[in-house]
Symmetry: D2
Subunit: 282 residues, 4 copies
């Protein structure tokens, strides 16, 4: 049996589930998992369905679903679960997030094809090499920023990338690139947003004397640290923790939160409605 993963988004109207389930039955599909949500503000209907079928014909399944749902004008994706999403990971000098993603991919926790690592430094090259992932160093200076983004765009095409993961990549992408990657690029910010936007959030957190610090995985948008949030978490810090301790504790939260968010993306569990994410996770 082949497992198919379907996501669907459209304006809510009676009959969507009926149309979708009719189509699934007609390709001899049996639903394994189904999640749906209607956003009360925008009336957007979002659905994620996993079903198994004796067929292996992705195009056929896609055609049947499209035909059945055409009147709802949905945004529809269908993929075979055994064909993993393709991600390009960007890092600078900190390696903890990249190490976590590669560790989880290798241990089978993260069903994702990490096709390339891009960095503005060479620090993480040995780590990527150990995990047999191609590594591309693309230095960025104010004068080379445009050329660097062109190189990156070239790699996105060459590796047929589904999404980009900024795993503590310390350069700001241009507004143009952010817009072109809308909904396809995730960043880990080392604070519990919206608190402590911008630089040196752990030092800001120390100054403010917060009792919990956190990390936020969010979609990249042209406005820095303002993109739709995918996941967040926090960890308790006592008064005795100095900024350097917070950096160390924060690393653990960053890698956990980013790994969770990337897994959600890898499994098509994130829908985007306006500025808010819908997370399909049982």
């Amino acid at each position: 049996m082949t497992i198919f993963v379907v996501t669907l988004q459209c304006l809510d109207r009676p009959g969507i589930v009926l149309a979708a389930s009719t189509a699934i039955v007609s390709v001899d599909g049996n639903i394994l998992e189904n999640d749906q949500f209607t956003d009360p503000v925008t009336s957007q209907f979002c659905m994620r369905t996993r079903f198994e079928s004796a067929t292996t014909d992705l195009d056929g399944v896609h055609g049947v679903l499209t035909a059945a749902l055409v009147s709802f004008e949905p945004v529809l994706t269908v993929r075979r679960e055994d064909v993993q999403r393709r991600a390009l990971v960007m890092v600078s000098q900190y390696d903890h997030c990249l190490a976590e993603l590669l560790y989880r991919r290798d241990s089978g926790d993260l069903p994702l094809d990490v096709v390339a690592v891009v960095s503005n430094h060479d620090t993480c090259a040995p780590l990527a090499r150990r995990h047999n992932v191609p590594y591309f160093e693309i230095p960025v200076t104010p004068s080379t920023k445009n050329a660097a983004e062109n190189d990156l765009r070239g790699l996105l095409t060459r590796f047929d990338v589904d999404f980009v993961v900024l795993a503590r990549y310390m350069q700001v992408l241009s507004g143009k690139l952010c817009r072109d990657l809308a909904g396809r690029a995730v960043n880990i910010h080392h604070s519990f947003l919206p608190g402590f936007k911008g630089a040196r959030p752990y030092h800001q957190a120390y100054q403010r004397g917060v009792k919990l610090i956190g990390a936020t995985a969010h979609f990249v948008t042209a406005e820095l640290d303002e993109g739709p949030i995918i996941d967040q978490d926090v960890v308790r810090v006592s008064h005795a923790r100095r900024p350097s301790d917070m950096v160390s504790l924060g690393r653990d939260v960053e890698r956990t939160v980013l790994a969770r968010a990337v897994r959600l993306l890898a499994e098509d569990r994130v829908a985007l409605v306006g500025h808010r994410t819908i997370i399909f996770s049982q």
Copy 2:
């Protein structure tokens, strides 16, 4: 518009969702929420659906759904969301769980009709009175246990009770009554089961030196502390916490966990498959 809540359980086969969604469309229903799960061990399919419709006719809706699904031989429940479930709460002398349930009912957090409080003591009578809930004192001694259970059964009938909440009720129900209330009685145990079954769990926890203590809300079964678990939670305790401190910290976990479990029941979000619960909670 009237909101209906449907729960359904049957052996998994292709076409259930199609049949259910056809029926819902035929009563002009629009699905607001839908959750489903197929247990991989037993192949039981469980579903909970909330939909709104212009009709107010519960019997009509029930009939349409029953007819549409009859070939799957499901266990099916349908109710109007504005008609709350009816619960009878049992307590002994500790009042914190009862106080929490009544506080949440009054503040609108808990959509539940608490129809009566039963106790083997009179301690909590003023609390129940303050919240305008009828209070019945039914003392229990070894010789009166049978009569006491008969009195209780009388109240269950008289108040048309959907489920029973043991909110730190310190008497053990008879095996017969446990079986008759199967799936309809919830208990709060003051430990993180399966650790520390039986009496004085906080003292057991202190002896063992655990670093987290917890509470467990579970369905009542004839085997003490072995019923299917609905919810659990824990709280950190340091070495400096003595058994009396743990009792105090534990009270907070008990009332939180029981309140969550009762809310899940009040909203028909708990399915029972074998010895495990399926929780439909977005």
Copy 3:
């Protein structure tokens, strides 16, 4: 045996602990609990010590400690543990935080003497009455704000109040009163500060799409929502939670966090160094 609680703060220098422990031995004291911390930024040394002694003479103990430590020019407090701190609680119309404080006081969890409740409404009067706490309604309008604060100051003197608890009191205190109450007034803010300062934080949180919401207990300062933080906590919210659900979930965090912070104050476990709190809690 009588238990004494000592707090001490001064510039760090070798010999403080020696001086304090010499003094405690000289009053036949045996230390039960001792916590200390030196702030690396300001070099402030903070200590909290609980010891028991056969003496009951508070003035005598205070004198011996003062004499032993005079060369360190400390801020020193000494009290008998059996003489509870005196708190005045302020509320508006939401009752959940007040209810929690009074519940915990009555159940023995909160060693605090709640001497009065002040409100700009009469909503919570029955709750206070049920717990036998004097209730004073002091309405506040722009034109009566000065007079209202004078009335409040009168009550603070009359009841010999140690600290003020703003338990969802929806009026802003004047800058003058905030300064006069510095380090003696605690507020619960219904967000995880510094995120979502100001009004309607749950609606702000919904708009931003955060995955955790929180509450913050902090000392009151003239700058709104900027006071030193005593405790914070968060709870997970899914995309399905609307602002009204967040208000309900948030209530639980608010009452938990405020109750914890007030208990820390009641037990002299909070020191204030610059804008940050030191929490002595084993």
Copy 4:
């Protein structure tokens, strides 16, 4: 300045803190951190003190403290903080706990000298090699168990090991070796003890239908899974998680909990009183 870490344990009597602080002042020490606890059941007094001094003379400091405290008959340890504790790590085939410890050591989070890795398999040899830690494969069969333990004892002596970390080592140590390593060997058990002792705890957890799974780091004793607990934590699991998912989620808790426990040991923050641990952690 040199930093010294002192731990002390003895029967509680007035004057211990005075004696210790007198000794510290006499070696020109300034206390940076001090934690103490008196166990109410056994009257054992435990203390951990970190102080800095211009001296570098460990033997001198040790002598002064010993002389000052001799009348209390304490168990006393003194070490220079810059001389790290020496640990030998044992693994079988799962590498996640070892990888976590080595990652943290390399990133500076774990102030510990990992002097050797011992395994009954060769699976983790490349991981150890990458981190430049000597790796010893000591296969264990029923007939070679004695010889294997002798080999291990040889390594403990040769590397001057302070403590042994069983990082998912799947062999049971002999009662004799457990006793000889009392208080110096830590194990990670993949359940929230005392729940699910013994083999295949995640499968037990699935059968029982628990809503949280956990991990426990504990001292090794001759009674399996009964040693004093150092740290524990849990993670929420839904009904949809199968045993294999729990294994994967559990791995994250195991490595986090073991890393925290080992760090506590590396920093001399764990005291053992009877069957319970005292954790000095601000």
